[in-house]
Amino acid sequence: MPLTIRELPREKYVLPGHAACPGCPEAMGLRYVGMALGRRAILVIPAGCTSIIQGLSPGSGLAFPIINVAFASSDAVAAGASAAKEVLGEDAIVVVWAGDGATSDIGFATLSGAAERGDNIIHICVDNEAYMNTGIQRSSQTPRGAWTTTTWRGKAEPKKNMPLIMLSHGVPYVATASVAYPLDFIEKLRKAATIRGFKYIHLHAPCPVGWRFDPSETVEIARLAIETGMWVLFEAERGRVAISPPSRPYVDKSRRKPIVEYLKRQGRFRNITEELVKELEREVDEYWSILIKLSSQ
């Protein structure tokens, strides 16, 4: 039975006093983490927007136990905390909540190490496709063609494909998610919490500030990413890939919206050339064909 909104708990984990921008996808994601894991969660958070979103100490706008940690350290800190809870026999789900920079750039070796060791943690990469906390600089997950404050003419390189990289680690659970599909994300989190070992969930998180769209449109933009096929929801248990229901219609390429519908809504792609759009289309098709091949195995 699929999860419905009625079944979600009412306790709040993102409280008044948080300091997220209007329309912030990270604040949305944190709400869903609270709904999914509730009081069992311990969050480990490296430098990034969520360092700010928590609000000011003493006190906080988030109702989780949180260890804030250095930028590159989170999966190792989480591994230690998880090991300690096991030693003590305490129930806890230790979750790394890390940006795309913390996940795929500075913290990449730490993440890869924890994945390879099978540390019993959930890593959530909250992917707003740039270093937002320091003012919209490129990360390895900024898409090709996107403006950032360190790529004024648009990023020349493609987005690093973290879900596939994590799949290659052979970990028991890899999934992608989107802030536009909270029930899908919550179900994936709950499933991850039942699996022992290293779990990776990549949450697509359109950021109005960095992507240049109106704060009221976060969910719409996130949904367009799915509908154009630019972002694909799937999960892989023990390496077996299954396209998730919200993305399933788009296995059929003819049902995908043209990617320009997604791009033109975001100021960061304002100066993108037709050539680059073609390149992006080609990359989207290629990614889909890899996923389709993996999911039919």
Binding site: G55, G59, P65, V69, A76, A81, T110
Partner: protein
């Protein structure tokens, strides 16, 4: 039980006896045999420790920090480049007030690659808020490692601590060592204490942005006060250990023949052993020399230094590292406190033994003889800083 052990094995035995529950480390010469030995103890079922075999030192300290924050006694070990690679987390752990213990096998920093001992790695951590102990011999390595768990977990301190042992001279050299029984250590070490524990269901947040910078500044100052408190705690814990085992090491410092001396040598680490021999022979020659062994670089033993050097005619401080562009770090501490106390005594700094260059008792004799003669003749030292690279 009397065993013949290397310094590194002493660390491993201490970790086991202290009932550490989580260990994480990354290999680097000459630290590696510490973790190898602990792994063996775990595999043989002799120690109930969870090992996290990480991919870097940054992660090693991060992992034990996570474990310690979550409530268990934790330990790591490293050396040289590994310690430098950890540096960000070295600060983080202390400012988060999480007690844990780390062994640092003191080794030269490259380039060029060099595995022999000097003290640049550990002395480079002086400002981080950690307790920093330096051992002279393997017995002290074992005893101080055990004691550090008690000292760092004392509510008046609540800070992490390092035990420094010199590469190869201690780490890979065997000495007869008295290893205490488990029940002795159990009676000495209380249950783990720490200022807070991160637990599921308890929304405690460590480290979000401060609303009040003055409060943040006070937290910084409080780390300093914690280290000052540690002065008393180190002394008390060493006395307890002395009563229990018959081995009191002197607390923050140890004086060797300084009571009736006029000139004081000071140093840290394994070469203090050679300094003792030099003191004896200089005494035989009629030079009124004593030795103050600094056992703790942090907290710096301000009072002990004052009490020892006041009334003396000169002090010579040996550093096995240099704060390039200034002077040796131990000297900088000694000289500034001697000056602040208006003692008006000449303090000379000899920087020696860098990059593992061997310095023996004959070198100390020569240097100190020259120093004493100069002060007797001139009343002061002309060059306060000397680089000594051999006889």
């Amino acid at each position: 039980m009397r065993l013949t052990l290397t310094g590194n094995y002493c660390v491993a035995y201490a970790v086991k006896l202290a009932r550490v529950r989580v260990v994480s480390a990354y290999p680097i010469t000459p630290q590696t045999t510490i973790v190898e030995k602990i792994s063996e103890m775990v595999d043989e079922g002799e120690a109930d420790i969870k090992m996290i075999r990480v991919e870097s030192e940054h992660s090693a300290l991060s992992a034990v920090y996570g474990a310690a924050s979550a409530g268990v006694r934790s330990f790591t070990a490293t050396s040289s480049h590994g310690l430098l690679y950890m540096h960000e987390m070295v600060w983080w752990v202390a400012q988060a007030r999480i007690p844990l213990v780390m062994a640092v096998v003191t080794r030269t920093i490259g380039p060029p690659w060099n595995i022999w001992t000097d003290h640049h790695d550990i002395m480079g951590q002086r400002d981080t808020g950690w307790l920093i102990a330096m051992a002279e011999n393997n017995q002290e390595v074992l005893d101080e490692t055990i004691k550090l768990f008690k000292i760092t977990e004392d509510p008046d301190v609540f800070l992490p601590g390092m035990i420094g042992l010199d590469a190869f001279v201690l780490s890979h050299t065997v000495e007869p060592v008295e290893v205490p029984d488990q029940d002795v250590v159990d009676s000495f070490l209380p249950e783990r204490r720490q200022p807070y524990v991160i637990r599921a269901g308890d929304p405690l947040i460590m480290g979000n942005i401060p609303s009040d910078l003055v409060r943040n500044a006070r937290m910084r100052w409080d780390v300093h006060l914690g280290l000052r408190n540690a002065e008393t705690v180190i002394e008390r814990v060493d006395q307890e250990w002395g009563k229990l085992t018959g081995r009191y090491h002197g607390g923050l410092t140890e004086c060797y023949r300084c009571e009736d001396s006029k000139y004081i040598m000071m140093g840290i680490g394994s070469w203090v052993g050679d300094m003792r021999i030099a003191v004896d022979s200089l005494r035989d020659e009629g030079y009124p020399v004593g030795l103050l062994k600094i056992r703790y670089v942090r907290p710096f033993p301000v009072r002990r230094v004052y009490e020892t050097v006041k009334g003396s005619k000169g002090v010579v401080v040996f550093d096995r590292s240099i704060s390039a562009g200034s002077a040796g770090p131990l000297f900088l501490d000694v000289a500034s406190h001697v000056q602040a106390m208006r003692l008006g005594i000449p303090v000379k700094n000899v920087v020696a033994g860098l990059a593992g260059v061997d310095v023996g008792y004959r070198d100390f004799e020569l240097i100190v003889r020259r120093f004493v003669e100069e002060v007797e003749r001139e009343g002061w030292v002309r060059e306060f800083l000397e680089f000594y690279s051999g006889r």
